[in-house]
């Protein structure tokens, strides 16, 4: 049945793919629904990891490793610090309230159905392409066609660095 949907069963990789897909979606649900914000944050770890696995299935090796390095090693750690610095360790039940879940679920469900409709019923112009390493090509694109956005993004990162350091700095107490 699943084979009809375009998954090559019989290939062990198909099971790994399904596991990654299930991990991504399931942990995303936990992020959205968990009552404990620390669990949400760690479910986000699984989501990022699952998405990195999906990139690997899309032959995007560089993006997969960058996803792990930046999201898991950087952004997730930032979020965890954010959680831990804005809560007290003695709060056993960390409050993470959900307001208006029904309206939210209705909107999210509508968006999902619309996107799913589009992705299934559009005739995509799919081409056969053999997998090839992407790192070199991405490097060439960064210093070739996308040089200006690349430089702009480095300026953005510098700005974010300075801005974040300025915002998070403790105000000097006046004598």
């Amino acid at each position: 049945m699943i084979a009809a949907l375009g998954i090559r069963l019989g290939d062990p990789a198909a099971y790994v793919f399904l596991a990654f897909a299930a991990m991504t979606c399931g942990s995303a649900l936990i992020v959205a629904a968990s009552r404990n914000i620390v669990y949400s944050a760690y479910a986000l770890l699984l989501t990022f990891f699952g998405v990195a696995g999906l990139y690997a299935f899309l032959d995007a090796d560089f993006i997969a490793a960058a996803q792990l390095l930046v999201y898991v090693g950087g952004i997730l750690v930032l979020i965890l610090f954010g959680v831990m610095l804005t809560h007290k360790i003695r709060d056993i039940n960390l409050s993470n309230e959900t307001t208006n879940p029904i309206i939210g679920a209705a909107i999210a469900g509508f968006i999902f159905l619309a996107l799913a409709y589009v992705s299934i019923y559009t005739k995509w112009d799919v081409v056969e392409r053999t997998a090839s390493p992407t790192t070199g090509e991405i490097g060439k694109a960064f210093v070739g066609k996308y040089l200006l956005p690349f430089e702009a993004s480095s300026v953005l990162l510098l700005g974010a660095l300075i801005g974040a350091a300025y915002l998070a700095r403790r105000e000097k107490e006046k004598p």
Partner: protein
């Protein structure tokens, strides 16, 4: 039918009726179990043995010297009988040439395995239980791409070193998990310190590694090793081809930056503020006991080995010997399968010799140097290592560009013509 499945059916006939996916899961489990027990546990065990013996020397005591092959041999009935005939103590009969205590790590492992697994009642059960596995997974996953010998590694990944940088960053959330889950403020402080330290030191480490990647022109670890076969225009360069000694010693600087950063990333003295026992009891694993604690311990030693192995691969030629490897290739090449095995053993020997050299240096550092303060630690990272690494990266870019221009020189026009 996939060959893996047929193989599993042949070896384990009782699995014939099982669904495919359960069988695949079982295979993954068996392989992971095998790797953990045959490869990783002995690696960390040997490291702990070296550490404890050296610590004993540094503190003028013996260290582990009982549980080992010597006592095992002397306990054998035949040895006892022979010793009785010769009228000496069995342990004297075996002699003191075999170092004692070699199996201490196995005994310790058994002991930890049988200890009570204590979980604090206020702890977050799930996070507390999961954290050792996350940390183990992060530190062992890096082993997959290490080129242990010539063209011998688990996976030939074309983003090898980048994969290591990415996958080992899973350790940081794992440490925070342990710190938060313990519901203990020392554990939390230790975890936060560890996370801040590892995240900060990842930057100079990554830049220093990227310098070598830039010179090799590839992130594949096997190709980086191959790039170190020759150097200074000599085909058979041997030791001179290693990146640490290339470019008139310019690359020594990123090498040293990497090693300092790597030491800081494994959280050992002089960078062990994370578990500074005078301040934080034992850092993020304060509340752990028994086998869960031994997971942290194993992760620490395997991280040490990984840092040494990465330094070896990126800067010291990996499995390449210090003499020109072409000699042994010419020697072993015509010998067929035996030559293959010899060459494999040669690469294996040099890789582990170099990696364990770094482990030894780290152990010596631990028993020699005092601990840094937090502000000193961050100053070293942000004001010393990162600027040096960045400047050296740009410098080596310049060196490589000049060399490429020189190499291309006469043919450059032809190359550009070809593109048009």
């Amino acid at each position: 039918m996939h060959p893996l499945l047929t193989f599993a059916h042949d070896v384990m006939p009782f699995t014939k009726g099982w669904p495919d996916w359960i069988l695949y899961g079982l295979l993954v489990f068996i392989v992971a179990f095998g790797i953990l027990n045959t490869l990783v546990a002995p690696l960390t065990g040997i490291s702990t043995y070296i550490e404890r013996r050296l610590a004993g020397r540094a503190q003028y005591r013996w260290g582990p010297n009982r549980v080992g092959f010597r006592s095992m041999l002397s306990a054998l009935p035949i040895t006892r009988g022979l010793a009785k005939l010769a009228d000496v103590q069995p342990i004297k009969f075996i002699g003191s040439k075999i170092p004692g205590g070699l199996l201490q790590f196995a005994a310790d492992g058994l002991k930890l395995f049988t200890k009570e697994d204590i979980i604090p009642s206020q702890a977050d059960q799930l996070l507390f239980r999961a954290s050792p596995y996350v940390i183990m997974a992060g530190s062992f996953a890096a082993f997959a791409v290490l080129p242990v010998s010539f063209h011998f590694r688990a996976v030939n990944l074309n983003i090898g070193i980048f994969y290591i940088l990415g996958i080992s960053s899973i350790v940081v959330p794992g440490i925070l998990m342990a710190g938060w889950g313990s519901a203990n403020k020392w554990a939390l402080l230790g975890g936060m310190r560890a996370a801040a330290q590892i995240v900060s030191y990842e930057i100079p480490v990554a830049i220093a590694l990227m310098t070598a990647v830039m010179l090799a022109g590839t992130m594949n670890m096997a190709d980086i090793v191959d790039a170190q076969r020759s150097g200074y225009g000599i085909q058979k360069a041997g030791l001179l081809g290693w990146y640490a000694f290339r470019y008139c010693g310019l690359m020594l600087v990123p090498f040293v930056v990497y090693f300092i950063g790597g030491c800081a990333e494994v959280n050992r003295t002089p960078f062990d503020l994370v578990e500074g026992e005078s301040e934080l009891v034992a850092g993020y694993h304060t509340e752990y006991s028994g086998f869960r604690w031994s997971f942290f311990f194993m992760a620490e030693y395997s991280n040490m080995f990984a840092v040494g192995a990465i330094a070896t691969t990126m800067f010291l030629g990996g499995p390449l010997p210090p003499y020109p490897v072409q000699f042994t290739e010419a020697l072993f090449g015509p010998m067929g399968n035996l030559g293959m095995i010899l060459r494999f053993g040669e690469g294996f020997f040099w890789f582990f010799a170099k990696s364990y050299f770094f482990v030894l240096v780290m152990i010596h550092m631990r028993w020699t140097l005092p601990r840094y303060r937090v502000d000193q630690l961050m100053n070293v990272c942000w004001k010393v290592l990162i600027p040096i690494a960045l400047v050296w990266f740009v410098l080596m870019c310049g060196v490589r560009m000049v060399r490429m221009e020189m190499a291309l020189g006469p043919e450059k026009d032809a190359v550009t013509e070809g593109h048009k």
